[in-house]
């Protein structure tokens, strides 16, 4: 049997999922998308059941990717029972989704979670009455305490029923539905969706469009608005029948903290401090862990490989492969994973949505809105997951975000700044590079706002409730971000590293270096081998630094290059061309044109600033 959990974001659905399923949870994507769908197994009375956890959604008739995927999945009709999870503190709004889900005629049960918080804030729900109004099983739960969770699976197996909420949609909509059913022979469900502009059948959609525009003319409201309003009214009616507010303690627990977090003062300074300390923590923890991992790797893997006595070609290949694995591990776990754990804590605590609200205005200036703050922050870990998370934005904002996120100094670039500038020049110089990059990001945003095509959408974002983050949830979320790094960026790293090793082996890199030497020396004031290091940087940003050390013949770069040269090298490699994984993801998400434009733009930015700095240093 196959069950699925469905509900609004932040209703504690995932928590319930984690408690119901044991080990062996599989995170898979909806086919052809990046929308995560968790599926796990539950054993009950020696029977093995499959449980799916859909992403949190507000509606089954929206146009976001999550909503579309869940809708598509439900329509496949192979789910035996739907477990609809509602938030007791926001029962009315949550009933709206239940009413929509009921239209799919899948047997279902109701789980009303967060029952304790609702009670604390004076919302008394008559669960039996709710059950009799809806005509299905209702289980009040407190997932954080594990209360009543054990009743869910037995209920889903025995008590799940198809319910008919019988929402009155008005005679025009009903007439429209009837005639669509008659004309095309579709189901009532298909007709309702088609009237709202959702569906694939061409004949049906054409007929629906005609009827929809007639209805809209008569009512000054689109069918979607009419249907949604009727559902909300129904939800309101049900909620008012089953909820009895005792009026006591109607203020939410998080009220006081919240009123501080969403004000400009002290909200904005808090936001700045949170972001700064997150980055600082990653910087410190990351550098420490990286040294350990790289050190161990050198001693126990790289060195033994050399002692195998492979032929020069295979030795080169093995080295290229291992160095990629080493760098992947050296970056992935110390920097990327640490970063994503911290970010996940911010997301889970509900703080991130407040940050997005506060940043809305500032993000507008650079052509986006508050919701784009989260992808921008993810970019500090690795640009790849960051770019994958911009799908929720509008086309115009995605274009702007592609440019800006690619410029955000990711973990690998942090390694360059830390390893070259902070070590050999000083911490102030390191921060000046961050400053330069931030200024360039803002300027780029200001310019793109004027030129990017398309309409600007605004932010509509529900504030997640402030909650104490839980370790298991946080780890899972961090893993979801991390997964994109491991499965998309890492394979590219390995392939490109081996490819580069081959180029090197056949002497092509040396040719290349000779070709670019004059440019390097004249314009950027860098030694000729710097061009090779920069090329390696395209494959993996931090490799620019490692290669430089290898080619310079010493790890003490301060001894072979002047401070100004190191600074220029760092600036150029941080700015110029995103790494190959980022380009690949840009290509996949945004198409060839944007990927090429972003690469070209950052390339020229790096070169121009390198040349500019060189000119300035010469005068000084």
């Amino acid at each position: 049997m196959k069950f699925a959990l469905i509900g609004n974001p932040n209703v504690g659905k995932s928590l319930i999922f984690n408690q119901l399923t044991g080990i062996g949870v599989e995170i898979s994507n909806f086919p052809g998308t990046t929308v995560d769908m968790l599926s796990g197994n539950v054993c009950y009375q020696k029977e093995r059941l499959e449980l799916i956890d859909f992403p949190g959604i507000y509606s089954l008739e929206g146009s976001t990717e999550e909503e579309e995927q869940v809708r598509a999945y439900l329509r496949k009709n192979d789910i035996d029972a739907l477990i609809v999870v509602l938030d007791a503190t926001k029962l009315e709004r949550n009933l709206y989704l239940l009413i929509q889900a009921a239209e799919y005629k899948i047997p279902l049960i109701n789980v009303v979670n967060i029952a304790d918080e609702a009670e604390k804030s004076g919302i008394i729900i008559d669960y039996e009455k709710l059950s009799s109004i809806l005509g299905c099983k209702v289980i009040p739960t407190v997932a954080v305490a594990g209360k009543n969770i054990d009743r869910i699976i037995p209920a889903a197996m025995q008590d799940a029923v198809v319910i008919d909420p019988g929402v009155p949609y008005g005679k025009h909509i009903e007439a429209g539905v009837r005639s669509l059913v008659k004309i095309t022979g579709c189901s009532r469900m298909d007709a309702l969706l088609a009237l709202q502009g959702i569906g694939e059948d061409k004949d049906l959609m054409e007929a629906a469009e005609t009827i929809a525009s007639e209805i809209e003319e008569d009512h000054q409201m689109s069918p979607h608005q009419i249907i949604a309003t009727n559902r909300h009214n129904e939800a309101d009616r049900i909620a008012s029948e089953v909820i009895e507010s005792d009026g006591a303690g109607s203020k939410r627990l998080s009220f006081d903290i919240d009123s501080l977090l969403t004000r400009v003062i002290p909200g904005v300074p808090i936001l700045a401090a949170v972001l700064f300390f997150t980055l600082l923590a990653v910087f410190i923890i990351g550098s420490f862990l990286e040294e350990t991992i790289v050190g161990l790797f050198e001693v126990y893997i790289i060195e033994p490989m050399y002692s195998l006595g492979l032929s020069p070609f295979w030795e080169k290949m093995a080295f290229s492969f291992l160095i990629a694995v080493e760098a992947g591990l050296g970056i992935a776990f110390p920097f990327v994973f640490t970063f994503y754990i911290l970010v996940s804590i911010l997301e889970d605590s509900g703080y991130m949505t407040r940050g997005a609200f506060l940043a809305d205005r500032a993000m507008h200036r650079i052509g986006m809105h508050g919701q784009a703050l989260i992808p921008m922050i993810l970019g500090f870990g690795c640009n790849v997951p960051a770019i994958m998370s911009i799908r929720q934005l509008s086309k115009r904002e995605r274009i702007i975000a592609s440019f800006l996120i690619t410029m955000v100094p990711c973990s690998a670039r942090t390694v360059i700044i830390a390893g070259i500038v902070a070590v050999f020049i000083g911490i102030t110089a390191a921060f000046s590079i961050y400053l330069l990059v931030f200024v360039l990001i803002i300027l780029t945003g200001l310019v793109l706002t004027r030129f990017a095509p398309g309409e600007r959408y605004g932010m509509i974002l529900e504030m997640a409730p402030l909650r104490k983050p839980r370790a298991d949830q946080t780890l899972k979320r961090a893993w979801l971000h991390m997964k994109e790094f491991l499965f998309i960026a890492m394979p590219l790293l390995l392939v490109s590293s081996v490819f580069l090793g081959m180029l090197d082996y056949y002497g092509i890199l040396a040719e290349f270096q000779r070709l670019f030497a004059p440019f390097m020396e004249q314009v950027l004031g860098l030694p000729d081998y710097a061009s090779t290091a920069l090329i390696f940087g395209i494959f993996r940003k931090e490799m620019a630094f490692e290669t430089l050390a290898v080619l310079a013949g010493t790890a003490d770069l301060g001894a072979v290059m002047a401070a100004s040269q190191l600074y220029i090298f760092a600036v150029v490699s941080v700015l110029f061309v995103p790494c190959i994984s980022t380009i690949a993801v840009l290509y996949r998400e945004m198409g060839l044109k944007i990927a090429a434009m972003v690469s070209l733009y950052t390339l020229s930015l790096g070169m121009i600033f390198g040349a500019l700095l060189n000119a300035i240093f010469k005068i000084l």
Binding site: Y58, S59, S259, R456, M459
Partner: protein
């Protein structure tokens, strides 16, 4: 002079109170109508002959009863049409004003009144206001008519959603979150950048200024209930 020119003159005289301006009348009208003073003088004499206005000694003009009622009727038609274009059809104010200027002469008062009834029937109230910064006086100054949106109110206000103006994006999400006509919402926070946090159906939703500027609302008297 054709009828629409005549109506334009009378409309402009009423709207900018061009009566009793003495010697500067010609220059004043010339600035408004984008025609040279000689032409204006000639036109005014034609209007006088038709009985719409009287040119007094010293150059002042005053409208006759007929002239005034014609001008007022045209002005009213313009306001209703423009309001209809911006608020119901979601056209941008400049185009709306320009189109209204054309149609006001052709459409009958009865027809335009019907549009007016439709507007008030859907809860749209038109009123002139906001001659703030960014206001450019062109041939005909923008006769702004708009109705209240979330963006017009401040922290703590309790509002009732009346409707939604057309615009890009976000419509469905707002509806799904419960921001629908008839719903009561409260502004929890309003940042200096005009992003707002509203409380609706027990949750708090952050909304960007451009979207908050499209949700038509009316203010409810303060109560402690919400």
């Amino acid at each position: 002079m054709d009828q629409s020119d005549r109506e334009d003159y009378l409309e402009a005289v009423i709207m900018h109170s061009a009566e009793g301006r003495g010697a500067e009348t010609l220059n004043f009208l010339s600035g408004l109508m984008d025609r040279d003073a000689d032409q204006i003088g000639a036109d005014l004499r034609v209007l006088e002959k038709e009985g719409d206005l009287v040119i007094e000694e010293g150059g002042s003009i005053s409208l006759t009863e007929e002239g005034r009622s014609t001008g007022e009727s045209v002005l009213k038609k313009h306001r209703i049409l423009e309001c209809f274009f911006t608020e119901m059809l979601g056209m941008d104010p400049d185009t709306a004003s320009k189109e209204a200027c054309e149609i006001e002469h052709a459409a009958s008062e009865a027809t335009v009144n019907k549009i007016g009834n439709l507007l008030s029937g859907s809860g749209v109230r038109c009123r002139g206001r906001r001659h703030g910064p960014g206001f450019v006086e062109t041939h005909f100054p923008k006769k702004e008519c708009r109705f209240d949106v979330i963006d017009d109110f401040s922290e703590g206000d309790i509002l009732k959603v009346v409707g939604m103006r057309h615009g890009p994006g976000g419509g469905r999400r707002l509806i799904d979150l419960g921001i629908i006509p008839g719903e009561e919402i409260r502004i929890v926070r309003r940042l200096p950048g005009r992003s707002v946090l509203v409380s609706v159906k027990g949750s708090e939703v952050a909304i960007s200024p451009e979207i908050a500027g499209r949700v038509v609302v009316e203010k409810l008297p303060d109560t402690d209930s919400l």
